[in-house]
Amino acid sequence: MTTRIFVPCDTTALAMGADAVAAEIARQAKTRGAQIEIIRNGSRGLFWLEPLVEVETAAGRIGFGPVEVDDIAALVEAGLFEGAAEHPLALGLVEEIPFLKNQQRLTFARSGITDPVSVEDYLALDGFRGLEKALQLNNQEIVDEIKVSGLRGRGGAAFPTGIKWQTVLNAPAEQKYIVCNADEGDSGTFADRMVMECDPYMLIEGMAIAGLAVDATQGYIYLRSEYPVAHRLMNLAIERAYAAGYLGDNLMGSGRRFDLEVRLGAGAYICGEETSLLESLEGKRGLVRAKPPLPAIVGLFGQPTVVNNVLSLAAVPFIMHKGGETYASYGMGRSLGTLPMQLAGNVKRGGLIELAFGATLRQLMEDFGGGTFSGRTLRAVQVGGPLGAYLPESQWDTPLDYESFAAVGAVLGHGGVVMFDDTVDMGEQARFSMEFCVVESCGKCTPCRIGSTRGVEVIDRIRANENREANLELLADLCDTMVDGSLCAMGGMTPFPVQSVMKYFPEDLQR
């Protein structure tokens, strides 16, 4: 009998040597005449265990990790191909690993289980059931289902998705567009990448449903060039979806049409801002547009356009299949459903954690993360990407929901959590926030373009103990100007991490 062995193929598994591990397993099997089939699955998101090798047995899938090439001979000797679990790297049943078992995976239910580019695998686990349902409904019924779900944009701004779709549906036009914002530029975030690398048909299905909802026949995925693996897998999945009739001019035999294309960005963080992204898709410099008009009214090529994040669109197939109310039964307050959090940086067990809104930051970092990678004391945590505040221990019991975070002057953003131990120099981190804005500002508005350069200079003077008090006052004033005067969130939020350092870690600006 052939044993199925799974070796993940997402960026992190590959970065930790998964290709060499797969090759060595194949070589060992050949030498020993073992009957095995190696499947390159997506990742479960238990990244500290990558490459996580799984062996299918009658009892379920048994995991081993993190596996290095040099471990394989011993693993095979210990009975890897027979699913024997007596080895220091043996993890038991993968589904029973607490990090995974204690999650509430709606969007990431398939991640790591399947071969990401296999249409058959996708269909076997409820794939395209949402699209099937959507094809039986009219526009308004689809939009209503999304409204019932309470889904808010998972890209960071948290705007209600149903309202956005309604606006595009109501806007009369010959041509409308669905644009997927896959410019996941925030440090500490990789959930979008995981969707595209581990379950790409889910995104294709979500975009096709969005197209049916608002009568848009063309979709674009604007993908950052820093994600070569996602680029390759997403293009392969789109090609196969066309061949299988889930894209193109006759969706599932319905006569309805939806075309989809990946467009590559070119290393500009600002193109994650929706209007800048649209400019870039049109072939221009990614300068932000003033709003109004909203992209929902005047978007890509001047037409009504839905611009949604990968995670927002990836939530849609579940909502259509299981119903908006099922999705809304998760979460708290006005933050409904689940939020895929990404735990990164100096963390012992980093990875993807999908939970209903409402768990605390501390639960995430301690129960799931297990503390710092270095074993030293955790000092600061940055939530929500490079424009998010650094939070000290006094803030770690804040519940993970949009309103609770806003109440403490922080943002959840795209759900990225980056941990720092006590060796961090917070003055350096504050300086970097401004420096990052210097490099990445689109330059259209003055507070962001010039304010960030001045910000670096002022922080340098403070760190050099030059007129410290006066310069601290100047920095506070500069931050206010950027927050109030910038055109978009880049300049408007760059001060958040700086202000959080001034407020919570002032001693690091005093040495």
Partner: protein, 163 residues
Amino acid sequence: MSGLPQWTPELIQAEIDALKHKPGALLPILHAIQDRFGYVPTEAVPQIGDALNQTRAEIHGVISFYHHFRTSEPGSHTLQICRAEACQSMGSRALEAHAKASLNVDYHGTTADREITLEPVYCLGNCACAPSVRIGDDIHGRVSPEKFDRLVSRLTTRALELK
């Protein structure tokens, strides 16, 4: 040097013609040219402008806006070090210093033997196994200075084997 073909106006035109019909074709065209020749030659700018009915200034403005596009020939390998916060928390500042010192180049520079072009990058999405480095389309995690040296020596060894 990099094993990529030398550009000619005809080859550039072929890339332009294959993509110019697309809505918003400029970025796809620039990507195609850079993928094929390693950079976007200055001489390609008027050609692209003619095809898209845009001025040279407009095309140049786009090329210079995006960090990814370059206008001079890179080394055989492009090596990017992630500078974002997750990597910082795991020692990327020290890694950057080590890389610059051992390769004897600063960011955007190419080593004297034209083997490696060093670039900064802001997030490769491998944040749970930081610090990260990208060489070509391969991403590497948990890169210590020692691992960095091994990766670099493998690159140069491979190049020698080709001779």
